[in-house]
Symmetry: C2
Subunit: 439 residues, 2 copies
Amino acid sequence: MKPVKIGLIGLGTVGSSVFNLLKSNGAEIERRVGCQLLVSHVGARRDNPACDLEGVKVSRNVLDVLDDPDLDIIVELIGGTTLAKDIVLTAIQRGKHVVTANKALIAECGQEIFLAAQKQGVSVAYEAAVAGGIPVIKAIREGLAGNHIEWLAGIINGTGNFILTEMRDKGAAFDDVLKQAQELGYAEADPTFDVEGIDAAHKLTILASIAYGIPLQFAKAYTEGIAEIELADVHYAEQFGYRIKHLGISRRTENGVELRVHPTLIPESCLIANVDGVMNSVLVQADAVGPTLYYGAGAGGNATASAVIADLADIGRSIGADATSRVPALGFQPDAMSDQCILSMDEVETAYYLRLSAHDHPGVLADVTQILSKRGISIEAMLQKEVSDPQHDLVPIILLTQRIKEKEMNAAIAEIEALDSITDKVVRIRLEHLDAQTA
Amino acid sequence: MKPVKIGLIGLGTVGSSVFNLLKSNGAEIERRVGCQLLVSHVGARRDNPACDLEGVKVSRNVLDVLDDPDLDIIVELIGGTTLAKDIVLTAIQRGKHVVTANKALIAECGQEIFLAAQKQGVSVAYEAAVAGGIPVIKAIREGLAGNHIEWLAGIINGTGNFILTEMRDKGAAFDDVLKQAQELGYAEADPTFDVEGIDAAHKLTILASIAYGIPLQFAKAYTEGIAEIELADVHYAEQFGYRIKHLGISRRTENGVELRVHPTLIPESCLIANVDGVMNSVLVQADAVGPTLYYGAGAGGNATASAVIADLADIGRSIGADATSRVPALGFQPDAMSDQCILSMDEVETAYYLRLSAHDHPGVLADVTQILSKRGISIEAMLQKEVSDPQHDLVPIILLTQRIKEKEMNAAIAEIEALDSITDKVVRIRLEHLDAQTA
């Protein structure tokens, strides 16, 4: 069979890895796909010394790649949602298949892009957009096609997981670990996207869409970052047998779909609680298969390139095949999407870890427990430490609660903070058991 | 689109789950696939009270299903390699696609079956044959298509893993736990296939073939069961920070492919060392993505049915599409299989756990270490326990060695057993670190 011709736009870390892997593993990939996957045109503003581009057409104006009539597939690896969006939409208009690793683009503009692709009968593939090299899009979209998926929870941002892992292992504070992560190249100079959970929310938006067949609704995702996590909470959590992870969680309930990224206590016996450092992992609870978990590198040039090439192989095989025989972009047929709403955080139910700073007066605990009980909040476990600040007779009280709607918990916390004996804002971290019954 | 018509042969645990899930999740599956997956003919010697077969054609002679001209896909779920093989080959001859969960059939007769399917231009899908509901065939065959896969290691028999987990957790002996597993329905009355590693070797044979693009060579797989594992070894392993798991391991070396199932010490910090009970997990080391791990239920009606339906969905989408656009049965194009040999165990290199029972005489240790050193075997760690049997002054000596070819180790063990001071057969369990460098 004649080679599949690829236009590669973007020659940074991921782009250069795709280019080099297609060469170094080319023979093996051809043995799998049945034809060569050939990068015949590269669009990059400058050369990348990691790549030997001899014999390859190179355009400095990346848009010129789109004018090349010989190409079957355009690979977009420049990131962002402006130029990248133009590139992807133009490629589709010209009847090219598209592969991208751009989670922001898919999460924010996916609807428009997939609609255009459907009209043109081309594929837009994005395995690399979620959890890097882990083939989790394929697993959910195809491997679990027989299931009603109930919920999923993922460590889908390596930077955040690295920071939380280091805090626990080394007892270092958030700011110090962040600085270290930046030095190691795990965190960007501006770490907002990672640390605030925006990157994770992009990925979670995509996962929820393919899991339940709902439109992409990034704007409705709730995100809470890890910058507020204190070492004390990491240690208290450990005393109860929990670890704090920055999770993306989505759950299908009767009233709508939960879509939330926040620090979460999870039992240390969970496999996913033991996913450390920059690694990613997604746990999926489905009605037939039960829990399945997918683990691997969520970032890095080669790991991301692995997913890009898997998409190229899929498209390479299907070139010439009828578009109806392909897996739909969001797993479900475009005309069969469900209109379940995304739940507001007020309506989301989880358990909670609370840390209160209280004067060591008799009656404090009675006041607190009464406020909780009035709102139907049951206490699962409690830890009252020795006086931590003898000069001000302050004691930390740590509570684990049972599941309750967030609006009840917020109201209770407001009442607790209004008590004279409570000196500080209440520290509140959500807690999930990740067992079959609940998210 | 008109429904895809399925003939379901076998209505036991898995067959009835497939039938019921296609009904209960039918609407959601149709939203994914774009057409209904309809079981229109069931072949079963007797009814299964779990299934409401109203409106479905039923044949008591299962071969009659093959005569039904309306069917698009035959699902073979009767197991075994005799009648099942006839059914699959006949279905192929008649131009039907085939889905099976039969690992023995694929591992032992897959070459013949896939050749016949290729000639007829039909698909034979078998996701359910390995690791039950975990979509690991799809992950390796498609999701890692850009990688050179270096090795893989899997807990791919739930019964064996349940027994080893219970031995460790409850301190129970092998025979007692086996009896318990049989009572719980986790182990067959004749547990040979599970306990001796034959079932795992079937699955490993399939995994190795799709990972490296080599023919299925079940006959060359090395299998060693778990019946010899003593509680003492489980505990000594734990003191060194290891767990004993019954692993299927395959590694691509310069000289050939390792293909072996045996009890293995692995570091307890490995994620896969924490896969307990009846759960399955496969760890794959590939050059681009690095390690990825897939975890879930390896058995059970619904979990296995989940994988069967994923195959049905794939075929349902591709019906009418050109056969060349489909994923090849063994991941690699049939004319691009590699002829790398399977290594004999003599040539396989691993580290070892050794337990010696020795008279407490001076010089024993010197004799043992000299024998090891003479053969180039380095000692990684040693534990000499107090005299365990004061009447006979016997002491257990536990050694962890570095990696060495099995033939050297076998020769050294023979020499050690010939020493006067050594009273018993040497207990030898292989040890793998499962890090990026080694299997």
